[in-house]
């Protein structure tokens, strides 16, 4: 068995038993990056020196008796989460060469637990997208079929975890950016309750929606990562400490009597048949494990996508204003006036999707339109918050698909952006309401592409959601399936073959 087939928690155990060293673990990930990154383009960059230094620090901690579950385990970090002295570029030209002079709080906590930040993972530019195609480093590919997208925006993280190019990773989720790529790539992804994980050091997209979350092989790894990164942070005024804690310890797999709400709106015409079938199987499995299925209605969900795109883009238009070529990152070479400096830098530095969302956000905040769009969306957000609070009176968690479809083909989504936005319908409600959401693999469609099921909890019920997902994974093995691409020695060849097929299909 290859070391990269281990889950993060398994690797952590071996490291504590001195069967593997922190240095060996990080070299294994680095080797995978060097040999196989061209297959999927999952990494934005991999700076080995700081990773080796971190591995040494972790080994010192281990030798001194520091024995956290993830001590010595390498963790990939999405390219929008600051790692001190490392490139943090949000896969955007406008941040080319930018090195964060500080660690994000989540990264600092990883180091504190002896985990090793290793490699920055590719993504949609500024986390704006559902396909990981808008990166300035080029599109990420789906390890189950390189002709398809891995989802987004944390597509690099999901693809790397699925393809055994890393053990686990930190992603970020503003409208589904952890859960949806996890679903498309057949791995497990968790978006915590808003405020559970500090956003300090996460380059903001939609500040009131953004959360850092783990992407890993299974729920246990997600829980182990959550144990490290969760908690109130004096550097993030929106962060909080919730009463439940000890996520890994809370995974007992016992869901007898758990009331699982099944929102009728999420199983209608909107979702593909194969997706519905897999999620139905998921529900049956939960019932077999002792859960009680409760039919519920979330009529407000149909307003979630427009509400989301107004609020997220409004905040983004402001958050991304700081990238003006004055202090860091990309600056146009040709300018005579201040206005030219701004216009050219931002026109050349931002990609099309980012520019589109900045314009949309600028529009909805403009005087004369503010009440019709932004203010109305704020009110809608509150209705969604209240609606969920009421629905959670009738159930403990909710189960629904992550996405109405499996991974689309490369290039397919960007040509129909409205369809792409609408495909966020099952993921954005959790962000608007600040709920914890988990994506677990629950089967494959007729084309062999993974399907994900989503579990949502009330604000603060993160442990409950994780435990329900864990119960499911104790009873199933979808999360252990491995794409053909990472079965040596065929790796490169499979990629070539699938790429060829993709060209033929196009």
């Amino acid at each position: 068995m290859e070391i990269l087939d281990l889950t993060a928690v398994e690797l952590g155990e071996r490291i504590r038993k001195r069967e593997v060293s922190a240095a060996e673990a990080v070299e294994a990930v680095y080797d995978a990056f060097r040999e196989r990154n061209r297959n999927l383009n999952a990494y934005a960059a991999f700076e080995i020196d700081p990773a080796r230094t971190a591995a040494q620090a972790a080994q010192t901690l281990l030798d001194g008796g520091g024995a956290s579950a993830l001590a010595g385990v390498p963790v990939g970090v999405k390219d929008n989460i600051s790692v001190k002295n490392c490139l943090t570029t949000c896969a955007s030209r406008i941040l080319q060469g930018y090195r964060a002079p500080f660690d994000a709080t989540a990264v600092r906590k990883l180091r504190g637990a002896g985990a090793v930040p290793a490699g920055t993972l590719n993504m949609d530019e500024f986390a704006m997208g559902s396909t990981s195609e808008t990166s300035c480093y080029g599109a990420v590919r789906n390890p189950w079929n390189v002709g398809h997208v891995p989802g987004g925006s944390s597509g690099g993280a999901a693809a790397a975890v699925a393809a055994r190019e890393c053990f686990c990773a930190l992603g970020s989720d503003t409208g589904g950016s952890v859960r949806q790529p996890a679903s498309y790539c057949g791995v497990t992804g968790f978006k915590p309750s808003y405020g559970r994980v500090s956003r300090y050091g996460l380059v903001a997209y939609g500040s009131s929606l953004d959360q850092i979350g783990p992407i890993a092989r299974d729920v246990r790894d997600c829980a182990a990562l959550m144990d490290v990164i969760a908690g109130a942070d004096p550097f993030d005024a929106t962060s909080r400490t919730f009463p439940d804690a000890g996520f890994l310890d809370a995974l007992n797999g016992d869901i007898r009597g758990l009331r699982v709400g099944v929102p009728e709106e999420c199983f209608g015409d909107g979702a593909e048949e194969d997706v519905k079938a897999c999620v139905q199987e998921f529900l049956d499995e939960l019932r077999r494990a002792g859960a009680e299925l409760v039919s519920i209605s979330l009529p407000f969900v149909r307003y979630a996508v427009p509400t989301y795109y107004i609020l997220a883009t409004a905040e983004a238009s402001s958050n991304l204003s700081r990238f003006d070529g004055v202090k860091y990152g990309y600056r146009t070479e040709h300018y005579h006036t201040l206005e030219e400096l701004y216009v050219r830098t931002r026109s050349e530095g931002f990609g099309k999707e980012v520019q589109k969302r900045i314009l949309l956000g600028t529009f909805v905040l403009s005087s004369g339109y503010y009440d019709a769009y932004y203010n109305k969306a704020l009110k809608m957000k509150q209705l969604i918050v209240d609606g969920f609070a009421e629905a959670f009176g009738r159930c403990d968690v909710m189960a629904l698909p992550v996405s109405p479809t499996t991974a689309p083909k490369l290039g397919e989504s960007l040509s129909d952006p409205l369809k792409m936005y609408l495909s966020d319908v099952f993921t954005v409600p959790a962000n608007l309401a600040g709920l914890p959401g988990l994506s677990v693999p629950c089967g494959f469609d007729r084309n062999g592409l993974p399907v994900g099921a989503q579990l949502l909890g009330a604000v603060g019920a993160d442990a409950l959601v994780l435990n329900a997902g864990h119960a499911y994974q104790l009873a199933t093995d979808w999360h252990t399936r491995k794409p053909e691409i990472c079965r040596p020695p065929l790796g490169g060849d499979v990629a070539e073959r699938q790429r060829g097929e993709a060209v033929e299909n196009a």
């Binding site: 964060a100 380059v203 903001a204 993030d236 005024a237 905040e315 402001s318 204003s321 003006d324 503010y370």
Partner: protein, 486 residues
Amino acid sequence: MRERWETVIGLEVHAELSTASKIFCGCSTAFGGEPNTRCCPVCMGLPGTLPVLNEKVLEYAVRAGLALHCEIDRETRFDRKNYFYPDLPKAYQISQLYRPIARNGYVDIVADGAEKRIRIHEMHMEEDAGKLVHSEFERVTYPDYNRAGTPLLEIVSEPDFRSSAEVLAYLEKIRSLFTYMGISDCKMQEGSMRADVNLSVRPMGETAYGVRTETKNINSLRAIEHAIESERSRQIHVITNGGKVIQETRRWNDDLKTSVPMRSKENAPDYRYFPEPDLPAIHISEAFLQAARESLPEFAEERQARFVKEYGLPENDAARLVARRETAELFEAVVAQGAGAHSAANWLVVHVPHVLKTLSESAEDAHPDASELAELIRRTERGEISRPDALKVLGALLSAETPFGVADYIRENGMAVENDESALEDAVRRVIAANPKAVEEYRSGKTKAIGFLIGQAMKELKGKSAPATVHERMEAALREPPSVTA
């Protein structure tokens, strides 16, 4: 017939708060410093950083709101004001629009001999921007972010002013309130207090407002006076020549004593304000509010009235004592140390400023020890030191860098009045003998001549006797019959 014009003015005053650290990070707020040495990832707005409100700013703002008789919003929150400029690191300023900390207040002023109430529309918290340093030589502009993130209060008045005298009285009042609370030093020259002037004119008796302009970049009280007069004349000139005042923002040029248009209303930026998602709404508890109320000091006016009543001081002296909180407190401390209230007041409003002036020091920089100052005043009152010497001691006391002992200084410099009885008797006798003409005048009823004789005696004594004692002895000696043996 020539029309008479009324000027209508509203003010936007910015006051820098004197918290030790910035509003959303831990950087120092000290003035100046090498460029870009007092900033961090947060106030530089680096990607991924987040603001966290400095509790002190909230505390100061609530106190300011109370002092301005405002309603405090118990669920206040911040908004983002979006615009691009290189001195604004995030390209938005964290400010307050929708739920400012304070609204609907007032301050009472006295101007042109009349009392007047100026209403406050609202007061809000916000962060300051950095500064741009233009190098003409290199034709390059350098941003300096030391000031970025300095906490500011912006106080927006209603258009209640009718003259520059009222404006100045209002600014002085705000300065007094804020310095009494210790929340801002309100120095216009250092930029810790700035004011934008909204001004319109209308024919006297008209009730509708005219079209207003806003004049920015005014950096001193004198400049405010000039700017108001200049804008008033300009608008009247425009109107009386058949033109129309256009709503615009103007920039004051203090060297040319004139303002130039910056931008018209049509070109006014759309700041796209929206609630700051990085800072949750702030709930102000009753306890927090109560603590703020209790922390309010006795302000200048109340203190002035008390000084008049409690110490029997003339209004004028009391007013001058309370102009600065430090002076008022020094006065009370000196009196508590045994100095007479009237002497203490006299010393603090006359001698101390005078001596400071000769030392070219400002009142803000002098912090004489109250007990030493009281010692000096007491000794002077008792005639144990001559007045010229006392002022010398005061000079030394005010310029002392280290703890200063008045008693030691007087002894070491031989300033103590000795009241040596035999020396005094000798001196009086010698002066009478040497000045028969003055003695004759005195005895013939021109009693003013005694002044000259006392002066001569003091000179003989080199100031080592108390003038009162010399006066007493001289009088006694002159009343004696002329010596028959002469």
